[in-house]
Amino acid sequence: IFPLCCCSQEIQKVALRSFSSSVRRQLDNKVPQKQKLFQNDGIPIHLKGGTADALLYRTTMALTILGTGYVVYELVKAAFPKK
């Protein structure tokens, strides 16, 4: 999972770095670590990333259920117009 706010700063650093090979803040390849973290162990993929996954899932599901209830309410209300 990649950070949402990967700002232009990071892009600039990676894109404009040219001749200097001296120490600078470099983006490391974290894919092998991610590959280890996401090993098959029974937890479904949408929750395997940890707490953040679970929070995001619960928020989404809560909105889904609330939304379903709200839309049924609105549709029933619309179907029986008040005179």
Binding site: V14, F38, I45, G49, L63, G67, A78
Partner: protein
């Protein structure tokens, strides 16, 4: 722990198809509620749910492919077929709007003055901003191809630069088109000319924005080392989509901006 004896991908159970379907329900019902009862709550809720679904669904696809290795050659082939079929469906979507345009413009009714462009419509000069827009998108097609070759050749820095340039060109197109919309001497309410112009170019603009977002995600993934020189289908899918957007613009430019002026 069980290991599969085949190269295909048996996906983990996922909640996102359900949340996506509910999002679609909320967005469509919300549209109707907005029209009749002037409340946008339901529609906005649906849009939020749609964005959450898209983010988590595609995050999971990246996890399954890049981190779990499920995108074997047969699976990748299926993904390729899927993207091609999706783009084909989008072609048919745009065909409908081109049909509408040619239906009205090839046989202009007496109400329009029997001519095209209709009486009273000041069209945009096709050799001003629209021509610049054409150059911008064509250039972006070159830069995205440059990005592809850079990825295949393992040139990390060049891939990042050319992909970023492609996205910048996409944003430049969107900005120019927004300016054109603001300055246009006619509106969507100006008869069938206005309708065909803004619906066709409007949906195209939406697809430019979608394509730019897709490429931006690819840029982030490229920066984070997700793509290898042999395996980078996410990028290829984005590039295909981008070329499709470019081709639609070329048809729009020739038909509506140039022939139709």
């Amino acid at each position: 722990m069980a290991h599969q004896a085949h190269a295909y991908h048996m996906v983990d159970p996922s909640p996102w198809p359900l949340t996506g379907a509910i999002a679609a329900l909320l967005m469509t019902s919300g549209l109707a509620v907005w029209f009749h009862f002037h409340s946008t709550t339901l529609m906005i809720l649906g849009t939020i749910l749609l964005l959450l679904t898209m983010f988590q669904w595609w995050r999971d696809v990246v996890r399954e492919g890049t981190f779990q290795g499920h995108h074997t050659p047969p699976v990748q082939k299926g993904l390729r077929y899927g993207m091609i079929l999706f783009i084909t469906s989008e072609v048919f979507f745009f065909l409908g709007f081109f049909w509408a345009f040619y239906h009205s413009s090839l046989a202009p009714t007496p109400e329009l003055g029997g001519c095209w462009p209709p009486t009273g419509i000041t069209t945009l000069d096709p050799f001003e901003v629209p021509l610049l827009n054409t150059a911008v998108l064509l250039a972006s097609g070159v830069t995205v191809t440059w990005a592809h070759h850079s990825i295949m050749e393992g040139e990390r820095k060049q891939a990042i630069q050319s992909l970023a340039l492609t996205i910048a060109l996409g944003f430049y197109f969107t900005f120019l088109q927004a300016m054109e919309y603001y300055e246009a001497p006619f509106t969507i309410a100006d008869g069938v000319y206005g309708s065909t112009f803004f619906v066709a170019t409007g949906f195209h603009g939406l697809h430019v924005i979608i394509g730019s977002m897709f490429l931006a995600v690819c840029l982030l993934r490229q920066i984070h080392f997700h793509f290898t020189s042999e395996h980078h289908f996410g990028f290829e899918a984005a590039a295909w989509y981008w070329h499709f957007v470019d081709v639609v613009w070329l048809f729009l430019y020739i038909s509506i901006y140039w022939w139709g002026s």
